[in-house]
């Protein structure tokens, strides 16, 4: 192995060992639910990454520190490898149920031998589910999540939860770059005390905030009426804006407006930058409106929801005759239609813009403008430094303000000293150019890879799906959202699955680290020199 890849191998080894810890911890769930047949599969799934991880981390233990380039390569390759090894529980549990090799009490109940679980016997489907989980996407190869063993339901949930923490750490501590809206935004003189300076300290801070919010989200959903198991899983996947569910129809399974509205603040919590959560928990509540990303987030979520509700209302999508709201409150006629339109429009826009992907109703038959409004939300995403996908609001802010700054510059003499005010920072022309360049590159690459994915999708899917269905699906995959117009599933063509795997991966890492990894590997092995 080349010299420069050795620190990479060491850190990947450590990541794999951490993954094995998550797998072993999941055995508790199997034991709690009496699913002993899943225990051997989980133990093997943990031993494989543990063995490889230990080998790599001990063999290259003394191979120096890593720089920012290595940080990017570790993030990109780490996410990929974790998704690869995260495939094992899906595949091994599915095959354990199919073959049923163990005597009682480890025998697999026949009730679990369903077509939904059988889909994971195909490693590509397992890899898709694992990548979808760890990237917080939520697109799934399952037909009915409700019939899956609790062990697999939990494994889907924990992949999204761990992936959610991972992406916050990635954007706030490891890959802070100009335009990424992380340390650039929060490390100005006035705020330097507000997020811990070291990576290790930042990671600890993120963990306790994330765990505390998870308990709160579980409590809120349980109070709204969800059963405990559902509340635990949906709180974890909602906060991490992943969107995997333990029910067949996602949140729509409950058909309960109270649960719908209770889920919205959970998704919004996951959409706000965690450094801002940290500041607010320290008593600095004014960040709710003084932080530019958070301020734009309120405006964007509000306007987008109003737009979607308006479109649905004009389309007459919900002609409800009678709706039971809660505690005997029943609405009828146009009041019922308006309530349903607001309920579903608000939920689905927040779900799309926060890149969560929970569904309360089928959206495949919504009008093209309504679907494209949601596609736009999925491309943009919410705040950098949170668990969301998409291009991120900070880049929109940078592009809008930076473009206006550049245009205004035409009217000033060359000798003029100008600054762009962004929050409490004053950026000089060089800094503005740097951030504008970064935001433009990411936005450009985002659309390039969307176009590539769309082309592959259109060439492979059957003709029953419309163009807006395909646009919706690919923006959902790359934005790590998980809402589906019905294209994604076990029957999806293999080239489309492979393309979606790539789109989900680059979407989570905001493209550049993946390109750096590929370039670094080609360079290391002298492929094109």
């Amino acid at each position: 192995m080349r010299q420069r890849l050795q620190p990479l191998a060491r850190d990947l080894g450590r990541i794999l060992m951490a993954l094995s810890g998550v797998v072993f911890a999941s055995v508790v769930v199997s034991l709690a639910w009496g699913e002993l047949f899943a225990v051997p599969a989980l133990v093997v799934s943990g031993l494989v990454p543990l063995g490889l991880g230990r080998l790599l981390s001990t063999r290259y233990d003394d191979d120096g520190e890593v720089g920012k380039l290595h940080g990017m390569m570790i993030a990109a390759s780490g996410w990929f490898l974790v998704a690869v090894f995260g495939t094992l529980p899906f595949v091994l549990v599915a095959w354990t149920v199919a073959v049923d090799p163990f005597p009682a009490p480890f025998a697999a109940p026949a009730a679990f031998d369903t077509p939904t679980l059988a889909a994971f016997r195909d490693p590509l489907n397992g890899f898709f589910e694992s990548m979808s989980g760890f990237t917080g996407t939520g697109l799934t190869m399952t037909d009915d999540e409700g019939v899956l063993p609790h062990t697999i339901q939990w494994w889907r949930t924990i992949t999204e939860w761990v992936g959610g923490v991972g992406v916050i750490v990635l954007t706030t501590a490891i890959l802070a770059r100009p335009g990424s809206g992380s340390l650039t935004l929060y490390e100005s003189e006035a705020r330097s005390e507000k997020i811990h300076p070291s990576v290790v300290s930042t990671v600890r801070t993120i963990w306790w905030i994330f765990i505390l919010f998870t308990f709160l989200a579980i409590s809120i959903l349980w109070l709204a009426g969800m059963p405990p198991w559902d509340a635990i899983n949906h709180a974890m996947t909602g906060l991490s804006t992943g969107g995997f569910s333990v029910t067949d129809a996602s949140i729509g399974e409950y058909n309960d407006p109270v649960i719908d509205f209770a889920m919205i603040p959970v998704m919004i919590l996951g959409s706000i930058a965690f450094p801002i959560h940290y500041l607010m928990l320290r008593g600095d509540l004014k960040n709710l409106y003084t932080d530019p990303q958070t301020r734009w987030l309120w405006g964007y979520f509000s306007l987008g929801s109003i737009a979607l509700v308006g479109l649905l209302w004009l389309d007459g999508t919900f002609e409800a005759g009678r709706v039971a709201v809660t505690n005997g409150v029943v609405l009828t006629g146009s009041t019922a239609s308006l309530f349903q339109t607001v309920r579903y429009g608000l939920f689905q826009f927040v779900s799309a813009a926060s890149c969560t992907g929970f569904g309360t109703i089928g959206i495949g038959d919504w009008s093209a403008p309504a679907q494209l409004t949601m596609s736009g939300a999925m491309v943009l995403g919410a705040a950098a430094g949170s668990t969301v996908g998409g291009i991120k609001l900070i880049r929109l802010i940078t592009l809008v303000k930076g473009t206006a700054f550049s245009i205004r510059g035409v009217f000033y003499p060359e000798s003029a000293v100008r600054y762009l005010k962004l929050d409490d920072r004053k950026l000089g022309e060089t800094e503005v150019s740097r951030e504008l360049e970064e935001a433009s590159i990411i936005a450009f690459l985002w659309f390039v890879f969307l176009a590539v994915g769309l082309a592959v999708l259109l060439l492979t899917i059957d003709g029953s799906f419309t163009l807006e269905n395909a646009v919706f699906e690919i923006t959902s995959a790359q934005g790590n959202v998980g809402l589906s117009s019905g294209i994604t599933g076990p029957a999806m063509p293999t080239p489309a699955k492979v393309m979606f795997l790539f789109n989900m991966w680059i979407g989570r890492l905001e493209i550049i680290p993946v390109l750096v990894l590929l370039r670094g590997l080609l360079d290391t092995f002298n492929v094109y020199r």
Partner: protein, 68 residues
């Protein structure tokens, strides 16, 4: 008795929020979840879980508005 000598409590106090109330919320979280699982949906468990959520919201507002 020093709370820091209790294994899990000591860990949370050292690596948690560095704030006794939020550390307490972190430690109480698993117990609240356990209460909803074991106790089912009853007035007592609803009150416990509701108190957990309300006390967090109250603390954030108090810390941000009153204590500043």
């Amino acid at each position: 008795m020093d709370l820091r000598n209790i294994p899990l409590v000591g860990f949370v106090l050292e690596f948690g929020a560095q704030d006794y109330f939020l550390d307490g919320m972190l430690l109480a979280g698993p117990l609240v979840v356990l209460a909803m699982i074991v106790g089912g949906r009853s007035p007592v468990t609803t009150a416990i879980v509701g108190l957990y959520v309300l006390s967090f919201a109250g603390y954030v507002v108090y810390n941000g508005v009153v204590a500043r």
